[in-house]
Amino acid sequence: MTEQTVTPERVDIQKLKSGGFIKQTQKDLFTVRLRMPGGRITPEKMAKVAEVAKKYSRMGFCHLSFRQSIELIGVHIDDFDKVAKELATAGVKVASCGPRVRVPTACGGCEYNPNGLMETQHKALEVDEKLFGTPCHHKFKTSFSGCPIDCARTMENDLGFQGAVEPQWDEPLCTGCTLCAKACMEGAIVPDKDGKPIFDPGKCIFCADCIRACPTNSWRIKRQGWIVRVGGKHGRHPRQAEEVARFLPDEKVIPFIEKTLQWYKDNGRPRERIGTTIDRVGLYRFITEVAGPVLQS
C-alpha cells in the first residue's frame, strides 16, 4: 500500500468531529465545516474562505450546509493545521459536530427584513459566543426566526425562538378604515358595520401585520418577545417542537437555554435528543422545571 491511511494513532475521529472536521468517503479527505452563526459572513471572510478552498480543497468545490455554513470539501488530513491557521487570519473559525451545542441558525433578522419582530442575528451571535460547543447527550440545535413566517424552522430545532408581537387596539384613534382586517391573513380581525375591528385572539399568530397596516397607530404593541419551542428535530424520525413559552423577553434567552441544557443533562440519556427525553419524562416536567421558572425569574 503506497497511500497513507488514517490510523487511530494518527488521528482521533471523535476529537476531529469536535473540531469540525468530518470524515469523507475518500481516504484521508475531510469536510471542514465553518462556524457561521446565523449564516452571516462578511465579503472579506468570504474572500479568505474562497482563497483557502482554492488552495486546499482537493475536490475543487465547497458546499452550503443545511445549517447555513460553508463546508470545504476534500481537505487532506495533513493540511488541517494550515487550513485552520489561514482561515483564522481573517477571523474565520471552524465549527464542530457531535454531541454538543451547535452553531445557531437564524433568519436575516429585523435589521433589514420588514417582517422581522425580534433581532435574530445578534442573538445567534450571542448564543454562539456563550454556549457553542457545550457538551450534551446528543447534538443540540438552536434557531432564531424573527417572525411567525419562521424561515429558521424553529419547529425542527431542539430549542427554537420565534419573534412575536401581541397587538392591542385603542378605539379612540380608530377611523374604521378596515386596513387591519385586510392586512390580517389569519382571519383574526373582522370589521364591524362601522369598519371597526372585531378581534379574535384565538386566531392571532402574533405577526403584527395589523400594527404595520394601521394608518392611525390605533393598533399598538402590547407585548413583544420570543415564542419558545422545544424538542424539534428532523432526520430519520422527525419530531415537531412544542411551544413552551410565549413572549419571553430578549434578555431571558440565554438563561432559558442554560436552564434547558441543565435539565437535559439531568434528565436525558446518552445519545438521546431532548425531544425523546421529553417524550419519556413528560412535557409538563419541562414546563414546570424550565419554562415556568425562567419566565417568573
Partner: protein
C-alpha cells in the same frame, strides 16, 4: 376621516405586487408634502401590501373606500 381632495390620481387595478407599490412610491416622489394622492387598488394581496409599504415609507393613508372588487385610497404625502 376627513374628506380630502386628491391632487393626483393613479389607477393600479390589474397591476401586480410589488409594481403597484413602486408606481405609488414614484408618484408620491413627484408630489409636494401635504398633497394627496388617490390610488385605485385591487382587493387581496395589493390591499394587504401597498398600504403597509406606504406607511413604512412614512406617508399616511387618510381614507379608504370600498368599491366592490377594488378599493380607493387617499394617501397624504408626509
Amino acid at each position: 376621516m376627513s374628506e380630502e381632495k386628491p391632487d393626483q390620481s393613479i389607477d393600479l387595478r390589474g397591476v401586480l405586487c410589488p409594481m403597484n407599490f413602486v408606481k405609488t412610491k414614484l408618484k408620491l416622489e413627484e408630489m409636494e408634502t401635504g398633497q394627496v394622492l388617490e390610488v385605485f387598488l385591487d382587493d387581496g394581496e395589493p390591499m394587504r401590501s401597498v398600504p403597509r409599504s406606504v406607511k413604512e415609507e412614512g406617508h399616511k393613508v387618510v381614507q379608504v373606500e370600498n368599491m366592490g372588487k377594488a378599493y380607493k385610497l387617499l394617501i397624504k404625502k408626509q
